[in-house]
Amino acid sequence: MRAPLLIIALLLAAAVLPPIFASGYQLFQLTLVAAYAVAILGLNLVTGFNGQVSLGHGAFFAVGSYVTAILMDRWDVPYWATLPPAALICAALGFLIGLPALRLGGLYLALTTLALAAATPQILKYRLLESWTGGVQGIVILKPDAPFGLKLSGDAWLYLFTLAVATLLFALTANLVRGRIGRAMIAIRDQPLAAEAMGIDLAMFKTRTFAVSAMLTGVAGSLAAVAIGFVSPDSFSAALSITFFVGMVVGGGASIAGAVFGAAFIQFVPNIADQVSKSAPGAVYGVILIACIFLLPQGVAGLLRHTKRA
């Protein structure tokens, strides 16, 4: 299941090339793909690996974005230094939401997290928080330039920065799931009673997995906020959570690499749909999505696994 290191090294080498030839806007899009990949990776950890269905991960993405925006806007914290606090806050939030999730499970958990996603824009607009969140207006943040006098455009630098953070997070997560901890996560999803009989502490694992998952998606939100240079409540509607869910399914549940394909899908397929039909892009998107699910029932990652075996 794990891609050999050589392939990963080649892909990474290819991934650092775009700044040479791509336009600023293309680099911006690729930056978002890297951020979304981390967001989907987080969702996949809790839903794909651990079996706790979340339709509300957009909320963690929003919190990560706002932590970064507020720290940069009010305290002039450099963008890179906002990532650790965003990670910690989102992990704590994920842990807290993981507690009631223990009792809900299944479809009820899915609905509850969806409600969280639906409430997110309203919470962000809430008047008492307005002095921090900027209310409906949101917060504009300055796009950083390349540091150390590097001769790179801001877009190129941000792309490389985001790529580096994403690569690190992917490596850590891949380590996490390939051993004892990852097997316990999957065991809980497959057969919780037997997992307990093997000595796995369900409550501990589920809440920690939720926390790590929220942390990843929150950091993804931070990265995206820096790239976009702007946060506002309406960018974090429930549709965002559903989009992440779509990305996870298309990429392949319980797959690390699948998150990258899922991210590319949610970033580019809406644009493609828009080019195919200006009048009904939603319908085209839906058709492409359904086709993907029919042709690749186990996601893109599942397809790659099969071709490797054949």
Binding site: L176, R180, R183, M198, R208
Partner: protein, 246 residues
Amino acid sequence: MRFGGIVALDDISFDVGHREICGLIGPNGSGKTTLFNCISGFYRFPRGDIVLDGVSLAGMPRHRIAGLGIGRTFQNVALFRSMSVRDNLLVGAHHLGRTGFIANALRAGGVRTEARTAAERCGELLALLDLNEVAGTVVAALPFGTQKRVELARALMGGPRLLLLDEPAGGLNHEEVAALGELIRRIRAHFALSVLLVEHHMNLVMSVSDKVVALEFGRKIADGTPAEVRAEPEVIRAYLGDGGND
């Protein structure tokens, strides 16, 4: 132990000695699996106690039971379906591991040592239970009899002192049942553990057990050596009343 109006276990008391194989028999619905579930902590029993080497299991969190040295298999097989045979076994060693989320994410030194120890044990058990050929196969694709063997191997991965086997002969033919009897004795000798064996195959129970306990409607109706239990009028009646067996 009761479920609504059904008294599933009532005033049962018996001991399993060190390195002893204890057969647990009884007609369908007599409470054998319920007893296992009480030992595993899946059911909370309102009265009485279960004690392992001086430690009471009453109110013990379920995930602590494996750490006390109790391993089990399930009557209807409860494997991790999407995982390979090898990974199922490795989960069986979960409670022997100590490394947490952060150590694993960083792949710290302890993680590798732990993984190596578990892999060695896994290799031994795959060989012992003749599972080498299917080690990489996803368990859902295996026949029922093989799945039962995987469960047995998984239970042994945790290094139990007491092994609970719930109808391990389910889905096996006559020769396989005989081989299973041999295997259970070998496992007891090799791992120096005690076994509590639930089975409907009378020949198997009677030939491998040092001691047999018979249940009916949640009550103990007999215990003693296989010969004693077999001769007990209550047991004969319960089994004849049940339509006979074997």
